[in-house]
């Protein structure tokens, strides 16, 4: 009885979905992703990577120590910055980054949705994911530093090119299933008709766009270290810098959750059998999170393969390659819908 009550409290959708999965989950996923990024790049480049801090865990403690260092570091706020925007922008960006999770169903049972109705949930979630880059531009401007301004200018170039691709490519899920309801989209691909298999073009375009718009490694243009010191985050230190970096990882994680719902069939191999909190909510949500984690790790792995693109190369890739790819994927989805495949 007590256990059941605790389970119901844990499975309270805002608590489980936003705090535990959204905040803590993406923190853990970010740590695992950073660790995996370093280890995988080391393996591919014939090095060993982080090791001595904890040889049995493969040096994972190293990442925890980094986190602790960021939290303990002194936060320096220069005199020349716009203080309010400088402090508020990373915090607001972090909160807004998690918000799309409030509109993503992680289970088909309506009892466990954070909002009452999932109509148009895909549109709302996509719309919210496009807000945080604007805050990154704002905080780069507020920092009043040449590197920050250059970095935020690059960010603005990049988001104009790639948010379009991301929105188009993810909306092709809606085009295939003729619904903006994420639950319908997931249910439509239920047995094994995943959109990533039926429509690989749109999936590829969405993957590229997520990489780009969250400035993951091959497209780490706004904060490329050896050109503009840390881009928009040049003046940041301590917790505020950690918030910025964490915001980027949370955005990537949230995008990955969206991708795994739209393209990878959501809680696909599993269909909830009862309405209990474990079978009805926790297991399907964990399946979605596992798929999203795999996607994030795949994005991290690309660091070992590609060098950083220049800004003009990335923009050319966007306008010449990614947008036609996304449009093709969208058309393919419409054809799928017309042929009643899904």
């Amino acid at each position: 009885m007590v256990l059941e009550t605790i389970l119901y409290i844990v499975a309270y959708p805002p608590l489980w979905q936003l705090l535990i999965l959204g905040f803590l989950g993406s923190l853990v996923v970010a740590m695992v992703a950073i660790w995996f990024e370093r280890k995988a790049a080391a393996r591919v480049q014939r090095r060993i990577g982080p090791y001595w801090a904890s040889p049995r865990l493969g040096g994972f403690i190293n990442i925890v120590a980094d986190m602790v260092r960021y939290v303990m570091q002194q936060v320096i706020i220069p005199n020349t910055v716009d203080r309010a925007a400088f402090i508020l922008a990373p915090i607001v960006a972090l909160v807004v980054s998690i918000l799309p999770l409030a509109f993503t169903p992680l289970t088909p049972i309506s009892l466990y949705w954070p909002v009452a109705s999932m109509e148009f949930s895909l549109l709302i979630a996509l719309a919210i994911t496009t807000i945080p880059p604007l805050l990154v531009v704002a905080l780069g401007w507020a920092a009043n530093n040449k590197f920050a301004v250059i970095g935020s200018m690059r960010e603005s170039y990049v988001i104009t090119a790639y948010e379009l691709v991301a929105v188009l490519a993810i909306l092709s899920g809606a085009a295939a299933t003729l619904s903006f309801n994420l639950v319908d989209i997931v249910e439509a691909q239920q047995p094994l008709k995943w959109l990533a298999i039926l429509n690989p073009l749109a999936f590829l375009a969405a993957f590229l766009a997520v990489l780009m718009s969250t400035s993951a490694f091959p497209f780490e243009i706004p904060e490329s270290e050896h050109e503009v010191v840390a881009g928009p985050f040049t003046e940041y230190s301590g917790v505020l810098y950690a918030l910025n970096m964490g915001g980027a990882y949370i955005r990537r994680f949230v995008y990955a959750v969206l991708l795994s719902l739209v393209f990878l069939g959501g809680w696909a191999p599993y269909t909830p059998v009862s309405e209990g909190p474990i079978a009805g909510f926790i297991v399907p949500s964990l399946i979605v999170v596992a798929k999203a984690t795999l996607l994030v790790l795949a994005m991290s792995f690309l660091r070992a393969v590609y060098g950083r693109y220049r800004l003009d190369q990335a923009l050319e890739a966007a306008w010449r390659l990614a947008i036609p790819l996304a449009l093709l994927g969208f058309g393919w989805s419409l054809a799928l819908a017309y042929a009643n495949v899904i």
Partner: protein, 178 residues
């Protein structure tokens, strides 16, 4: 007259399919190394490189063989080796001591070229096959005549295992455990 800048037209390499193919190839190589890593990094105190004989490492002096010709000090390109004058008992005339010159070495200057070892007519100098010896201060690196005759100890040997680098036909430089 300044040189004219000529703009070369660079042909775009390959088409779309070649680009896709090369991307897939790069990913395949990365996955191959990820699954089967060939690490070249040395985990230093736990592993150390076992060099082949003939490696030019630290230099040890055998006093008994030295004929005080000073060829080593003259050939030394970085002036690391100097002769010192020593008063010692003469085996031929026990009643009066003799003065003799012996080399000492300054490892702050030595570049480990091995010329002194090569030129020594009586082979009174020889290399030990390692270079990872640590001194606590700069003054310690200026070896006295007594210290020059003692073979230095290799710190990594105490806790590490030897490793050999070999050139592999396909993989390049490969680390092998002995």
């Amino acid at each position: 007259m300044p040189a004219r800048v000529a703009l070369k037209s660079v042909r775009r390499r390959g088409g779309l399919f070649e680009g896709i193919a090369s991307n897939i190839q790069a990913l395949a190589v990365a996955v191959k190394y990820f699954v089967d890593p060939q690490r070249a990094t040395l985990l230093y105190p736990r592993e150390y490189i076992e060099h082949r004989p003939g490696y030019r490492g630290f230099i040890v002096f055998i006093k008994e063989k030295c004929i005080s010709c000073a060829a080593c000090a003259r050939i030394c390109p970085s002036a690391a080796m100097k002769m010192v004058r020593v008063t010692e008992p003469d085996p031929k005339h026990p009643d009066r001591p003799r003065q003799k010159q012996y080399p000492v070495i300054n490892y702050q200057r030595c570049i480990f070229c091995g010329y002194c070892v090569d030129i020594c007519p009586t082979e009174a100098l020889y290399h030990v096959p390692f270079q990872d010896v640590v001194y606590e201060s700069l003054a310690d690196m200026f070896l006295t005549l007594e210290a020059f005759q003692v073979e230095p100890k290799r710190p990594a040997v105490a806790e590490g295992s030897p490793v050999v680098y070999e050139v592999d036909e396909e993989r390049g430089l490969v680390k092998r455990r002995r």
